[in-house]
Amino acid sequence: MREMITTNLPVFIIIAPLFVSFILPTLSKRIKLVENLVISVEILGIALAVYLVSIILAQRGMPLIYQMGGWSAPWGIELKAGSLGAFFALAIAIVGLPVALFSKGNLSVEVGAEGRTARYYTLYLLLIGALTGMALTNDLFNVYVLVEVATLSCVGLVSSQKRPQAAKAAFRYLILATIGSAFVLGGIGFIYIITGHLNMGFASQKLSDIWQNNPRVVWTAFSFMLVGFGVKSAVFPLHIWLPDAHSVAPAPASAVLSGLAVKGYLFCLLKVLYFVFGPSLMQVYSVHRILVLAGMIAIVAGSILALAQSELKRRLAFSTVAQVGYIILGFGLVNTKGLAGSLFYLLSHAVIKSALFLSAGAIVNVTGKKHIKDLAGIGKKMPVTMAAFTISSLGLVGIPLLSGFIGKWNLLLGSLETENLLPVIVIIAGSVFCAAYLFPVIRIAYFEPAPDNDLKDPGLPQKIALILLSIMIIVLGTVPGSVLELANRAAAELLAVL
């Protein structure tokens, strides 16, 4: 039994949400059931992810490989749950549950009608499943398909509010994301044309042998991949869809979009870059420099843009642009510390940004106010929400003992290893900027006189979700032990080809 679970674990972890998601539309009248089902799926997801992580850690990084339908590698589709995959699966699981909890009970307010709730959940679970698939798949075309699934569900989530603006943002997002997909698919096509393989391992081997025959095609493939995933994950100049999309989505949706969806594409980019092209090829084409440069620009620009926003959710959305910069920067460092830091930062940002978006969403839902200056006195009326917001802001700024610091610390060490001080400065400046755009919110919320109307914290599940996320921020910051270990393993795995 145990062995059966272990061998089928990678596919299990993907299938569970997907399977449930298809059932949901049939249950659209019984919302309570739907909600509980989703939550239990998420709990199951956490259990499986933790189990997967424990297995991977126990095996000292030996990946679990699952071959779909029993076809072996070059022909069949392969799922490979290595340290990297397990790490991201864990991230998805621990963010997924609080978001699902938060959705419980009050979603119909945001989505518009009770009937739409089930559809929302369908998309949500689809997204979770697709992201988990991205984490574990080892096949390029599979990546494309899952990316498309994720994109469509994202767009669906964005458009789930019954507002004209939602449709507008969603359409814009859809168009740009599809262009991105086209680029991704083109890139996959080029790789396939050169190597004749879609399995990452095989493609990578072949590529390292023959890339010198047609270097220009490899360039093109690189460019297509960078632009494609860049659009999808909102790397700085390509981020234009993100603020609208993230700010009009319902609170849990923006949380999961900012926290996970963007990360999923980044994760795919990481896999393509390191598993397919390989670090040495990256260095040949100086892709790592592009990444560092793009990361730095994104940090600075995103932060400045965030500062210029007056709406809370838009500010958070731009903050995501800046934080994506950190992750991209870490990808470009090509050393263990930098990659581990980047991965850990990815996880911690997922947690922190979901917490931020959830609390911001709660505030907006309760008060109906979008602008930061209207939030006076919220801290006293909604203590739990603002406490979560404060803790996660501090985490994002990078106060020691909170999760953001560890990621940043490793990123800093990684950039110092490359003997380049500029990224170090930019990373630190980013923290200062981050404080600059988040603290006014906190100040206004706590230290401005409160309005007289009767505002309250959201309901119990929402509170639990926020508290859960806050605890996670603290736990990841104080005892990151095995998670950081896993990130290190994953970084080693990424660099193994070097």
Partner: protein, 127 residues
């Protein structure tokens, strides 16, 4: 020069794919009508499909299903074509979804021109 032209002629499907891709991309990016954008996307994706399918093609080859027993025969690689089926499905679903969104846009704004929609901005919003 001649070599280049030769190469282009020999690889005509790729050249065609490239041209179509650019046409599609320009259409998406430069047109403000939502339908045209959608069509542009479809054209772009078609270009990619062509490229994929062309990559599997071998001149003079045939589909493996036609004479599967002959191990000497030149086979066309069927995998890209199979993959592109998936791709087309994805593309269709994107189009469907986009159409649905267009419908919503048209209902709320009364136009399908994105530029006008943007100009209308927040007046329509939050009814």
């Amino acid at each position: 020069m001649r070599e280049l032209i030769d190469k282009l002629i020999v690889n005509y499907p790729y050249v065609a794919a490239l041209i179509i891709f650019v046409i599609g991309a320009m259409t998406v990016l430069t047109r403000s009508n939502v339908f045209k954008k959608l069509l542009g996307i479809n054209i772009m994706e078609s270009a990619i499909f062509i490229m994929f399918v062309a990559s599997g093609n071998i001149r003079g080859g045939s589909a493996p299903i036609l004479n599967g027993n002959n191990s000497e025969a030149l086979f066309i690689n069927p995998l890209p074509s199979a993959l592109m089926l998936t791709g087309i499905v994805v593309s269709v679903s994107v189009s469907a979804f986009a159409l649905a969104l267009i419908l919503r846009l048209y209902r709320s704004y009364g136009t399908t021109d994105l530029r006008r929609i943007a100009l209308m901005g927040n007046e329509v919003a939050d009814k």
